[in-house]
């Protein structure tokens, strides 16, 4: 078993009396594609915020590449190689698409090199995502789907070891989702990244990931091979009444 590049232990987030995330463990190894699913309000995004340092967990421990980053600021996570996207694209609207990608290269990614040289250049990253024709345009003028891709480009610019994707498939057509997932698999293969992908739409994710963790009411109720998880009684129970039985169809 290789050493996990990201290791979360007993992560808990409380907002006053509400426990949004309740003792969640998650590991991700280099080259591993992990999905995190869960119904609305399961605490997925909150959990994700803790993995990138945006929210400091009230309890638990976060290790990145062997270093303890619990309680550190987001820039420390970024500099240790954790890069993320946001659910609603948060590109720098007035900067060009190329400058958006270069931003990460200048800061979080400054001290590292990618395993694959082609990803050390903002233009090459844009070309990889199919955004080369938008390089000089202000990012705020791109379509929402393209801004979503640019978000991935910004994260890749940070030369990550762990790539956190927050619902990058939301609002995309099936064909677009498949294309995006293919892109992510390619990046993962070429750069040896650990990828953690959160998605509300289960079916999308199940076909692409190596492993899936299921959050429900702040707790992790399953973690393992997508096929096995899809048959898990607790998971089916959690999703019943929400999307029928989408998990079975996916498997």
């Amino acid at each position: 078993m290789p050493e996990p590049v990201l290791c979360a232990r007993g992560i808990e987030v409380r907002f006053g009396g509400l426990v949004a995330v309740d003792g969640v463990d998650l590991d991700a190894c280099a080259g591993e594609f992990v999905g995190v699913i869960g119904p609305n309000g399961a605490g997925k995004t909150t959990f994700f915020h803790t993995l990138s340092g945006v929210i400091v967990p009230t309890a638990g421990k976060l290790m990145v590449g062997g270093d303890d980053l619990t309680g550190c600021a987001p820039h420390a996570f970024a500099r240790h190689g954790v890069a993320r996207t946001f659910q609603m694209p948060r590109v720098f609207r007035d900067m060009s698409a190329e400058a958006n990608v270069r931003f990460g290269l200048e800061f979080a990614g400054r001290a590292r090199r990618h395993a694959h040289e082609a990803f050390d250049d903002a233009r090459a990253i844009l070309a990889f995502l199919g955004l080369e024709d938008s390089a000089a345009l202000p990012a705020g003028g791109l379509t929402p789907a393209r801004q979503r891709l640019l978000e991935i480009g910004m994260a890749l610019g940070a030369r990550p070891r762990v790539l956190l994707l927050d619902e990058v498939a939301a609002g995309l057509t099936h064909a677009e989702v498949d294309a995006t997932a293919q892109l992510i698999r390619r990046v993962r293969d070429e750069l040896g990244l650990a990828v953690i992908w959160i998605e509300h739409a289960v079916r999308v994710l199940m076909n692409h990931v190596d492993r899936v963790a299921v959050l429900h009411q702040g707790r992790k109720i399953a973690d393992g091979d997508p096929r096995a998880v899809a048959r898990d009684a607790a998971v089916v129970e959690a999703y019943l009444g929400e999307e029928g039985e989408p998990v079975k169809r996916a498997a």
Partner: protein, 303 residues
């Protein structure tokens, strides 16, 4: 224009302006000095506040600290040493205070920075009364007006050069990222706290140095006159009217604004503040991007 060319242009401009004491009358020289002072204040204000959208009203505090360094040090220390010391004192103060308040945003930050000026003013008034048994200080043997002019010119040129260098640097990129989306910049590896404190202190250095340089023009220095909140407000207005996202905008605006103020004051001594106020309102309403945005408009019209 590359940074090297830009710095060359700034140096050339400063050299040309250095000839002014031989060419201009005393009145024009003092007018030019006011222009230069506001150029220095406005470009450094825009470097921090224009880029990050943190509206700072602390310029008067920094300016006044610099002026008080002159009030205390002038006479025992040479003028050439007092000016950088004034800058350093203001920068140290900005770094210290910035570490405490730069997590606040919007109105809270603006109000707190305004309060800083008042705080320092009262602190100095109190300490002068208690320990030095004085309410103000008299400066003797002030340097000649041409020396003061050259000093202010040098500080202003250095301020513009520093801003040009910051804009071209990673710090400048970090500040722009903070202004656009601070949390996103953090998740891309920017230590936003360090970047904000650094830029705040750089801006304070130049405001303090200008305060120290200009203070010798007043023979009598007291807290109420050197911690004048209008200096801070005027700096903000000049930078915003010029276009706080640009380097040239605040410079042009500082000259226009200083000349206009002087002209109105001489022509309409009773109504000049009214006219100035109306002009400000019109500019803010119809030219929110500042004077610098006129260039872009003009280019679009021609194209």
């Amino acid at each position: 224009m590359t940074l090297r060319e830009l710095l060359g242009a700034i140096a050339a401009g400063a050299l040309a302006l250095a000839a002014l004491p031989w060419l201009a009358s005393d009145f024009l020289l003092s007018l030019a000095l006011t222009c230069l002072m506001y150029i220095g204040l406005a470009v450094t204000w825009a470097m921090f506040s224009g880029a990050t959208n943190y509206l700072s009203l602390a310029t008067s505090a920094f300016f006044g600290i610099g002026a008080y360094v002159t009030a205390w040090g002038f006479g025992s220390l040479p003028y050439a040493l007092v000016v950088p010391l004034g800058g350093l004192a203001a920068a140290a103060f900005a770094a210290l205070v910035g570490a405490g308040i730069l997590h606040l945003r919007g109105a809270y930050f603006a109000v707190l920075t305004f309060g800083l000026g008042e705080l320092v003013r009262h602190a100095i008034t109190y300490s002068e009364k208690t320990y030095a048994h004085t309410v103000g200080r008299v400066l003797q043997d002030a340097p000649e007006s041409s020396v003061v002019y050259w000093t202010v010119l040098l500080v202003a040129a250095a301020a513009v050069a520093a801003c040009a260098a910051v804009r071209a640097s990673r710090l400048g990129l970090a500040l722009a990222g903070i202004g656009a989306d601070e949390e996103r910049a953090q998740t891309l590896g920017v230590d936003t706290r360090a970047a904000k404190i650094t830029a705040f202190a750089i801006a304070a250095f130049f405001a303090g140095a200008l305060g120290a340089a200009v203070a010798v023009r007043w023979t009598y220095i007291e807290p109420a006159s050197v911690f004048n909140p209008f200096i801070g407000f005027q700096t903000v207005l000049i930078a915003m009217i010029g276009g706080a996202q640009t380097l040239a905008g605040p410079m042009i605006s500082a000259v226009v604004f200083s000349l206009l103020t002087e002209l109105l004051r001489l022509q309409f001594p009773y109504a000049y503040l009214i006219v100035l106020g109306v002009l400000l309102i019109v500019l803010v309403l119809y030219l929110p991007g500042g004077l610098a945005s006129l260039v872009g408009r003009w280019r679009r019209v021609r194209a």
